[in-house]
């Protein structure tokens, strides 16, 4: 491991602090997915603790998959209702996700499915009222462009399903002043023509039925050495981390398509590695590396103008994705999420100090509001050690307090004029006693 000392560019070369334009505000809503069949939030013994954890992480959206065609018995509905109630207790807005019907090309099945989705929305309205459920999000489709999850479905068939389901839900939502928060198609981002689906969705579906456009993005699906991926673990890891710029480019591409339409741009699933085998992917998602990958992705989503992000997954009973374990134990990824969401908040003015004076292994976002609160998240994206002088970036000057994310905690420090990292790291810089 080498240590590099990065010198200040010199005060005389530093431009005066450039505050962002008035309009450059954080529009990213933080969120998470509940992993498959995960009911601990509603029924587990640590229910209250989990709810607190999710609330503490500044969670605005929680996405949960519900099966509208399953037996609509009392027990089944009771489970759904308990889960949706618990989500609301976290302070988050539910995003109810429906996969496509099976088989997708049977018109009777599609009709039955859309009716069932509408009925579920109707039961929600009866339980929580029109006002509540009009603020909820309704997501239709789960990676329909992926041959793995929806074999052979065409865009035309998906469009038909979407419009039927969206109409059924909208009927239950009643008259709306704003367009309904219904969206899709939650495309699989590994497919080469993923943007086709987004573009056709925005261009070919009646826009009055679309409240958001959703897309999934993971950094990797291959194991090291498999399918032309590098076998060297160090190269594999660094390469994976380099791909977070895709969150920027994809958010930007979708934002351009949606600008002026009043449709939200949401990354509906993200994490570093999507392999289902925990021995392969857990170390990339649930470690300090995973925290840095996620934090870096969040900054690129902010930079790209995304309106929402949903970590896959906030919570899982088992498996390689969860930021919280079934017992509510946080991973570094959870701690990173909490640190960022609590301090760079929806509506804050934001800027990216390193865009003007980049440093290869660092990235940062600064958030501030009208009360004078000013906080910055700085990420170190390397296993190397590094020391930087903060006055190199005028926007970061005078932030003398730091909260450093470690494997299992956040440590407080008072800084001089330098910031040091020994390997991967996330630091909150601030100037307040308590953040």
């Amino acid at each position: 491991m080498c240590t590099r000392k990065i010198q200040s560019a010199g005060a005389e070369k530093c431009a005066p602090t450039q505050w962002p334009d008035r309009d450059q505000r954080l529009r990213l809503r933080y969120g998470l997915n509940l992993g498959e069949h995960w009911k601990n939030l509603a029924f587990g013994p640590l229910r209250e603790e989990l709810i607190t954890r999710i609330r503490d992480a500044g969670t605005a959206l929680v996405r949960v998959f519900l099966d509208p065609t399953s037996d609509a018995s009392t027990d089944c509905w009771r489970e759904c209702a308990a889960l949706l109630g618990a989500i609301q207790q976290t302070g988050a807005t539910p995003m109810i996700a429906f996969s496509c019907p099976v088989p997708w090309n049977d018109s009777a099945a599609v009709q039955k499915f859309s009716r069932a989705c509408g009925e579920l929305a109707g039961r929600c309205r009866a339980r929580w009222g029109s006002h509540a459920i009009t603020s909820w999000f309704w997501s239709i489709g789960d990676e329909p462009n992926s041959p793995w999850t929806n074999e052979g479905i065409t865009f035309e068939a998906y469009r038909d399903i979407y419009e039927r389901v969206a109409n059924a839900i909208r009927q239950e939502l009643g008259s709306l002043e704003e367009r309904p928060r219904i969206g899709g198609p939650c495309v699989d981002g590994f497919q080469p023509f993923w943007f086709d689906w987004i573009w056709r969705f925005a261009e070919e579906v009646d826009n009055s039925l679309i409240g958001f456009v959703a897309w999934n993005r993971y950094g990797e699906w291959r194991e090291p050495g498999g399918w032309s991926a590098p076998a060297d673990p160090d190269v594999f890891e660094r390469l994976l981390l380099s791909r977070t710029s895709e969150y920027w480019s994809r958010a930007k591409a979708v934002a351009s398509l949606l600008e002026g339409r009043g449709i939200l741009n949401i990354c509906s699933e993200l994490n570093a590695h999507s392999h289902t085998d925990p021995t392969i992917s857990s170390r990339f998602n649930q470690s300090l590396f995973g925290a840095v990958y996620y934090a870096s992705s969040l900054i690129d989503l902010m930079r790209g103008g995304a309106d929402g992000e949903l970590l896959w997954a906030g919570a899982c009973a088992l498996g390689p994705y969860g930021a919280l374990s079934a017992r509510g134990e946080p991973t570094p990824t959870y701690l990173a999420k909490r640190l960022i969401a609590q301090n760079v908040r929806f509506g804050d003015r934001i800027l990216f100090p390193l865009d003007r004076d980049p440093e290869a292994q660092l990235d940062a976002v600064l958030g501030f509001d009208d009360t004078g609160r000013r906080t910055a998240i700085v990420i170190h994206r390397s296993r190397d050690a590094v020391q930087v002088q903060l006055d190199r970036w005028p926007e970061l000057a005078n932030l003398f307090r730091a909260s450093l994310l470690c494997e299992s905690c956040v440590r407080q420090e008072r800084l001089g004029d330098t910031l040091s990292f020994d390997g991967y790291g996330i630091v909150l810089l601030h100037d307040e006693e308590n953040v």
């Binding site: 065409t154 865009f155 590994f190 497919q191 080469p192 023509f193 943007f195 086709d196 573009w199 056709r200 261009e203 070919e204 032309s228 590098p230 190269v235 660094r238 390469l239 380099s242 791909r243 710029s245 895709e246 920027w248 480019s249 930007k252 591409a253 351009s256 398509l257 600008e259 002026g260 339409r261 980049p358 290869a360």
Partner: protein, 439 residues
């Protein structure tokens, strides 16, 4: 050129234009180098302000350097006759990639070609040429199935060989060697760029080359949209990918003195000429190409090379074997004549309007002002230019190319402060016509 202004009259920020225009000369190289219309072809390319020409060796029916040096010499000389810098691509070899002798053989061939060039042309000039290692190594069909680990070995040996051949003229500087010329359809295309930059000796890299086509499927093929209109609109919407990819590559190379080059682009790369021709050699292709050029200019990359210059029934080229231009030739020529290297440029269209229009404003010497405008929608469009470049709103010249002009550039006085285009189209408004434009 210091023009002393950093914004247009209406506040659009200006930056220096540093894009070198270029072309590929590949499968139809014989027409370009030795064909009966070669001088007309060179003249046409000079009119495009072509600064860089990508040439192939070891693939694309290129002349064999050992068996047919005269043809290879003519091929390179043709690029020089255009006034451009050759960009020599050592495309691949067909021996086992893990065979050290095969790699050594290939590297020696490449360095001997570089050395032969210094024998043929002044070394002081040859040292400034570009030498590109491999073509689309991330695509098994094109690149032969090489993996990155083997590519790295090949790259370093070839680069060192070229550095040795050019050493007497380099004065200790690095030769302009680069790669990996990645194919842009592959999901992990950027990995190859990252690995080149992070796993290869820095002193052996002078540029990064990447390729992008938005589509390879015919309408209805392999889950593509089944109607042509949807497909065209979808392709057009993806012109922004050029800018996004350029920026992603730019982020990887920032802080290093490397060039960022898009070495191949066009609208469509279907495997059948008849299919791709409809997209590349039509009015649609001209407009898509113009949109790509605006993206290149906005992104600040160093060079672009359209695939291809000369074309004998391949469905790509901007000039046929008789040197007759396609619509894309005309739109590229409009861009290169009115948005010139060293100009100050800005991008006045923002917000949702960018889905229908894109434009670059160019400020040159002697108060030359030009607006290069692209209409991205297949429906009639009208745009006032007062907010784009006030200096041009009242009087000047209009050159437009759309369905109403039969995809040919037509010159007229600019009146009324508005541009009207009949569907997909390209226009220039300027206060100073380029030499020969009025002819």
């Amino acid at each position: 050129m210091a023009l002393g202004k950093s914004k247009t009259g209406n506040g659009v920020p200006l930056t220096p234009m540093r894009l070198q225009y270029g072309v590929n000369e590949s499968d139809s190289w014989w027409h370009f180098a030795l064909g009966p219309n070669r001088e007309r072809l060179w003249e046409r390319l000079r009119e495009l302000d072509v600064q860089i020409v990508r040439l192939f060796l070891f693939d694309k029916h290129a002349p064999n350097a050992v068996l047919d040096w005269p043809s290879l010499r003519a091929y390179i000389q043709a690029a020089l006759n255009v006034g451009a810098t050759p960009f020599l691509t050592f495309a691949k070899f067909n021996r086992p990639f893990d065979d050290a002798r095969a790699v050594r053989w290939f590297a020696e061939q490449c360095s001997e070609i570089a050395w032969s060039c210094t024998e043929e042309w002044p070394g002081e000039n040859v040292k400034n040429w570009y030498w590109c290692v491999w073509n689309e190594p991330n695509n098994d069909w094109i690149g032969g199935g090489i993996n990155f680990e083997h590519y790295r070995v090949v790259y370093e040996q070839v680069a060192r060989g070229i550095a040795r051949s050019l050493a007497p003229w380099l004065n200790g500087n690095a030769p302009r060697v680069g790669g990996p010329s990645v194919e842009g359809f592959q999901p992990f295309w950027l990995d190859w760029v990252w690995r080149l930059l992070n796993e290869v000796d820095d002193s052996l890299i002078g540029f990064v080359n990447w390729h992008y086509y938005p589509e390879w499927r015919a309408a209805g093929e392999a889950a593509a949209a089944s109607d042509l209109e949807t497909m065209q609109n979808l392709i057009m919407a993806q012109a922004q990918q050029f800018g996004l990819r350029a920026t992603q590559v730019g982020r990887l190379i920032r802080g290093r003195p490397l060039l960022n080059i898009c070495g191949e682009w066009n609208a469509h790369s279907h495997y059948l000429p008849a299919v791709r021709k409809r997209f590349n050699q039509s009015l649609f292709g001209a407009v898509y190409g113009a949109a790509a050029l605006v993206q290149f200019l906005r992104s600040g990359i160093d060079a672009e090379m359209v695939w291809t210059g000369t074309d004998d029934a391949c469905g790509y080229g901007i000039l046929n074997a008789n040197a007759e231009p396609t619509p894309l030739y005309h739109s590229k020529r409009l861009c290169s004549r009115y948005v010139r290297y060293g100009d100050q440029i800005g991008f006045p269209i923002v917000g949702p309007a960018k889905r229908e229009w894109d434009a670059v404003v160019s400020h040159g010497a002697n108060e030359r002002r030009s607006l290069f405008l692209v209409h991205l929608a297949d429906q009639p469009g009208r745009l006032p230019i007062e907010n784009l470049e006030p200096a041009l709103a009242k009087a000047g010249y209009l050159i437009k190319l759309d369905a109403s002009t039969n995809a040919q550039p037509v010159l007229a006085p600019f009146r009324g402060g508005k541009i009207e285009l009949d569907g997909f189209g390209v226009a220039v408004v300027t206060n100073e016509l380029a030499p020969g434009q009025a002819d």
